[in-house]
Every structure is written in structure tokens, then in C-alpha cells.
Symmetry: C2
Subunit: 224 residues, 2 copies
């Protein structure tokens, strides 16, 4: 987000009671990480916080969340879902309610918006610093929901490239759940879920037997 629009939002703030916050998650070598921005100005100057801000005129909640996501990461068309609406902390100025979203992005496609003074950075979800605005409860909630959705949805489609192997997919699941999974059972369950399909091509990289490539049948959230 630019400094201009930030200022515009601050003026808007006293007349608008609702804000969005986005829990942007990705999987890297360190495991599951969350994108945080560093606050330079009060309130909570010096703290880290979730990307977020006020609704702009004429904008829907989903659009505001997508705008925040795009502004911080440069990505669109990823898994983005409303999580829950939290009360603001009693003593915080500004909005009364925070509509939280969570998004999953492929770390490889993200270009962090270093242009702003916000210094966005990835933190492992279990080693995040203390957060502004009581945002920690939002991250905890996102994590819980994500883990629950792994079992019956295609949430992770935006954490992987267009084509991928079952082993890559399994690594993502393991990173999110924080525990190893049995290979054969994983393959059976995933295939019976019907969210992915073979491309018919093979991956021929690496010092091993070529691997069948898959893709997600639908690259959009499936709701049940």
C-alpha cells in the first residue's frame, strides 16, 4: 500500500467502523510462514502486524482483502477466504471490527512490496513476534481452520505450481500439519478426494525415477 492511500484511509478511519486483515501464509524451507508488516507509526509503532486496513468506498470485503493481498505480495487468483470477524481491542482507535481473511500463496511467485516503509517479512507461524491489535488470535484461528480444511478441500492449490508431483503435494501437507504422513495412505486419500488429476506428463528432474505430474482440477476454492 502506498503512503498516500494509507493517509487517505486514516482520514476515512473515523467514519468507517470496519477493517479487513489478511493472514497470508506460505510454505518455505522453514515450514509454514506468515507475512507480517512492521509498523512505523502509532498505534503500535514498532510492532509487527497483519496486512490490513479500512474498506475503501464502494469496495466489498472480499475486494478489500484481495487488494491488500495484491498490494503486499503482487499475487491474485489464489486461495482467499473469509475467516471470522473479530472485535477490535477495546482501547484501540479506529475500526470496531476486523474482518479476517486468510490466503495461501506460492512463495515462489511472491514479490514482497519492499517499496513501502512497512518492511514486510515472512515469519514461521510458531515463532512469530508479538503482534499489534491483538492479531495473534487471528493467526491462531487461521492455522486451525487451514489444518481442518486440508482434509476435505483443495485449499492448497495456490501453494503449488501449475504442475506438481504427489510427493511435492505431500511435503506441503506435512509442512502445514507439522507432522509426517504415510505416503501410500496420503496418495489414496488425495486421489479419492478428486481434487487433482494427472496431466499425463512426467517430471524428469532429479536423480530418481521420473514422477507423474498432477494438477488441481479446479484452481478456485471448493465449498462444501
Amino acid at each position: 500500500m502506498t503512503q498516500q492511500s494509507d493517509r487517505a484511509q486514516r482520514q476515512h478511519l473515523s467514519t468507517c467502523g470496519v477493517a479487513v486483515a489478511v493472514v497470508i501464509l506460505t510454505v518455505q524451507r522453514e515450514g509454514l510462514t506468515v507475512l507480517l508488516i512492521h509498523r512505523a507509526a502509532p498505534p503500535y509503532a514498532g510492532y509487527w502486524a497483519l496486512p490490513g486496513g479500512l474498506l475503501m468506498p464502494g469496495e466489498t470485503l472480499d475486494q478489500a482483502a484481495a487488494r491488500k493481498l495484491l498490494g503486499e505480495t503482487g499475487v491474485a487468483d489464489v486461495y482467499l477466504e473469509q475467516l471470522y470477524t473479530f472485535d477490535a481491542q477495546p482501547d484501540d482507535p479506529g475500526p470496531r471490527a476486523i474482518v479476517a481473511y486468510f490466503a495461501l500463496v506460492d512463495a515462489g511467485r511472491v514479490v514482497l512490496a519492499q517499496r513501502s516503509s512497512w518492511q514486510p517479512a515472512w515469519f514461521p507461524v510458531d515463532r512469530a513476534p508479538e503482534l499489534a491489535f491483538g492479531n495473534a488470535r487471528i493467526v491462531a484461528y487461521a492455522l486451525k481452520r487451514l489444518r481442518a480444511k486440508l482434509g476435505y478441500s483443495n485449499v492448497v492449490y495456490s501453494l503449488l505450481p501449475e504442475h506438481f508431483t504427489l510427493t511435492q503435494l505431500q511435503r506441503v501437507y506435512e509442512a502445514i500439519l507439522g507432522r509426517p504422513l504415510d505416503k501410500r495412505n496420503f496418495r489414496k486419500r488425495i486421489l479419492s478426494l478428486g481434487i487433482i488429476e494427472p496431466t499425463g506428463h512426467l517430471e524428469r528432474t532429479g536423480a530418481h525415477r521420473p514422477a507423474r505430474l498432477y494438477r488441481f482440477s479446479r484452481r478456485e476454492p471448493i465449498t462444501f
Copy 2:
């Protein structure tokens, strides 16, 4: 809600961007019914709508929802849960976002707030009139969530009196799901869920064998 506080909220309206709406459901002879109020004044004069309104100063979202529920029905301490946050319809005045809740109440305990000009009334969920503020999507969502939660939670505790028979409980499940359930399977599943326990007493009313009475182990939402 009184006319005074309604007027106070209308003034508050232009400075506050968030409202709550409550889908209050109960089970009656006709099946699952939803509480609606009749709008006398614009916007949507003459339409039926969900009980709702703006957040009052210093109040949390949950408190606002509970206040609305108490104001319309006189009940508290029932199942009340946040559902989802919806965008207001683009052309509607007032709040930008509607935080929807759903509540389940025992029709026997409710005293409808006939004092106001709002004429609250129960409508079968599948035969409700056209609703103001695009509220129909909220009712549909509540219904879907309620049915999903039946299988693994104690949601229905506030639809039944303190003591009840398994058959009464089954009637409630059938009314919500809209289909008959097998008696033996229902009893096995419910008992294995561990949300109810026998009281040790018997119901001796009716021209039939006395029935064992049960109660819910916890009369508060269980979160999983």
C-alpha cells in the same frame, strides 16, 4: 428494540460501518422456523427482515448479537454463534458490512416482543417471504451451517427443555434436517457423541412405556 434506541441507532448509522443481524431459529410443529420482523419505515418499508442493528458504543459484536436476541425474544444463555460477515447491498444506506449470527431457541420459552411496531413473527424457513437487505442469503447460510453442525456438536441444546427424551431429541434433528432418521442408529450415534447424559429419572406422561430422561452435559457451545 424500542423506538428510541432505533432512532439513536439511525443517527449513529452514518458514523458506524458495521451492523449485526441474527438468524433466530426454533423448531415448532411446522418444522424449522425463523424469526422475522416487519419493517414499517424505509429502507425496505413493508418488507420482512432479520432482527439486527448497529453496534452500540463500547459493545462487542457478540454482545450486540445477544442484545438483539434478548430484545426480540427475551431469552439469553442459548446457542449463539457468529456465522459470516456479509457485504451490505451496494445501494443500501447505512453499514457497509453485516456480521451475521445464528441462534437456536426453545419456542416454548420465547415471548415475542410485541410491544414494538415491528410485529415479530415466525416463518417456516422454506416458506419465508422476500427479505430486506439481501437477508435471504444469510438465512440460507445459517441453515447450511446448522445442518453441518448437527453431526458433531451440541448445537441443539437450547432447542430443548432441561430434561428430554431421546425421541424428542430425534424429532428436533429430523425437523432441522428435513428427513426421517433411523431410531436405533440415531440413539447409538448421539450417545457415542457424549454430549448428553441420563438423568436417572423417567418421563411418565403419555399412553406408552415410561421414557428415560436425558440432559445435555454442557449447556454452552462446544467448539472443535
